[in-house]
Amino acid sequence: MNKTMENKTCARILIVDDELIIRESLAGWLKRDGYSIVTVESGEKALEIISKESFDLVFLDIKLEGIDGIETLSKIREIVPEMPVVMITAYGSINTAVEAMKKGAVDYLLKPFEPDELSLLIEKILTSKARDLENLYLKETIKDRIRFDRLIAQSKNMQGVFDLIKRVAPLECTVLITGETGTGKELVARAIHSHSQRREGPFVAINCGAFPEQLMESEIFGHERGAFTDAKEQRRGKLELANGGTIFLDEVGELSFKMQVNFLRVLEEKLFYRVGGSRPISLDCRVIAATNRDLKKAIREGIFREDLFYRLNVFSIHLPPLRERKEDIPLLARHFLMKFSKETNKHVENISRDALDLMMIYDWPGNVRELKNAIERAVVICRGSQIRPQDLPISVGESNKREGPDGSTKLLPLKEIEKRYIKQVLDDTNWNISLSSKVLGIDRSTLYKKIKKYNLKH
């Protein structure tokens, strides 16, 4: 039995052939493609290893001493029905190859193969296997009621959110969604829209904190030609663009006091005017607002109008932070792993126990968005088929060290951040100085100086 080291492609392939020259030749060729190869010389040994280890693909010779290829295939199907098996055969045994296809082999190759035929076949099988897994996962999530629209969660409090969305969606009332940044407020707004009677209409989102007051007014209400210096043409605002659908006012707590007054009037009168216009336009869209601010506190401080708050807060949905629903972390991590593994075309298939433990300890101040970014980054830098602790951002790895005595997140000096980041990059690249210096954007001698300065050790 011969094993190669883990490598960048990392799909595991088992080769079963009684001829040493064929095993070595095929293994040697596939290693150049970056696959992890195991070879065995008999059907018996193949069954033994398959019952203990997992493979992404098996190349199985039809003519074997002892249990022949067809019988081995039948037994593999009993042990791991979903494992793809490609029969390899000499020209004379093509009828047997056809029989093998009927018994569940995904394909067969006649020895010797065309080089491009071999690489194309492997690529096709591995892509199709990934797709099957994804479909299975989607079916499971729907079956287990852990997916609602684009939201994914299994925690009790998020299941409660799903129920609220279902209840409020068919109504016409205004909804206020609250929750920390990165908890998925816009996804909830979209889910409400897509289950409402206005689902055929547009969903228009606007970030209320993104523009200065005058620009915001024009963004929301639109303007007439000549309304102000740069208004060379008439322009429709977001409220008009959302006609027949839903407008989503993100970060509504950031609206200026003047805009709050304007908006309150719109909600009360169901009419609005373009900036510089005199013709009233009917409001025909549902309003969903969201904020990560404590609006009641903002009212007490006199920076948010109480009447607008009650207009918006007809129905409220609060999204719990990720640290209060940690049971969702493995599910979300797996979801993002599949998404980014597919997008980056890398065969990263799972997350190690240690890495998952770190993720469970960490508080995720940036919530689901932070988790998503962490997994995306881990998939990109991961060198094997599994995400390990060193693939995670330093903040996750050192979560228990970041808190001050009062439990608050400690702000670090720039030098400390630089030291930690350099250490992380070095660890991520297994202390490969060339690669680290390229990632950090500094030359090797500078990196060596910093390693010495910060006394970093492998």
Partner: protein
């Protein structure tokens, strides 16, 4: 006794009918890998690797001989032949290398141009350079790369060979440079 620059990659042409590309190849390998190159003769012929049934030459067998016979002072050895090469499971190969090993071989047989026009001859030279660097890359432990422009990308057709660049992508280059340190 002749002094060999260190480190040095030995280039072993084996009875080539056309060797006009050789000087250009030596220069490109030197520029790309930053290592001296030298024409050497480790193997004079490869008839020992001839397979009568297939009418081709068994490249893995040739690599074993190259590795065995090449003096230790050479960092790597690259043989070049115009005979058609094979490995037992494949109908043919453009070349083969010992992954993370010392010996590599390429065949010009299937890289030949359609005609002898200057443009086609340029393509031919470029293909040889790409195949040579690709196989030498394997000897430095590099596996195939997904980046279609990278020299380590596995090409299924000559068109793909023509389309890829004569350089390593950032990732492969860094891994290579670390090996060459």
């Amino acid at each position: 006794m002749e002094k060999i620059p260190s480190p040095c990659i030995g280039i072993n042409p084996i009875k080539l009918k056309d060797s006009s590309f050789l000087q250009g190849l030596l220069k490109e390998i030197k520029n790309s890998l930053g290592v001296q190159t030298k024409i050497i003769t480790v193997l004079n012929d490869i008839e020992f690797a001839y397979h009568e049934g297939r009418g081709q030459y068994y490249s893995t067998r040739i690599l074993e001989e190259l590795n065995r016979l090449t003096p230790d002072k050479y960092l790597r050895v690259l043989a070049i032949t115009d005979k058609d090469l094979f490995i037992p499971i494949l109908t043919y190969v453009y070349g083969e290398a010992q992954l993370d090993g010392r010996a590599a071989i390429i065949s010009t047989n299937r890289l030949m141009p359609q005609n002898r026009s200057p443009k086609e001859l340029m393509k031919f030279s470029s293909r040889i350079i790409k195949e040579a660097l690709h196989e030498l890359g394997h000897t430095f432990g590099l596996t195939h790369c997904r980046d279609k422009r990278c020299i380590m990308h596995y090409c299924r057709t000559l068109r793909e060979v023509d389309e890829k660049q004569t350089k390593f992508c950032f990732f492969c280059e860094t891994l290579l440079m670390d090996k060459l340190k």
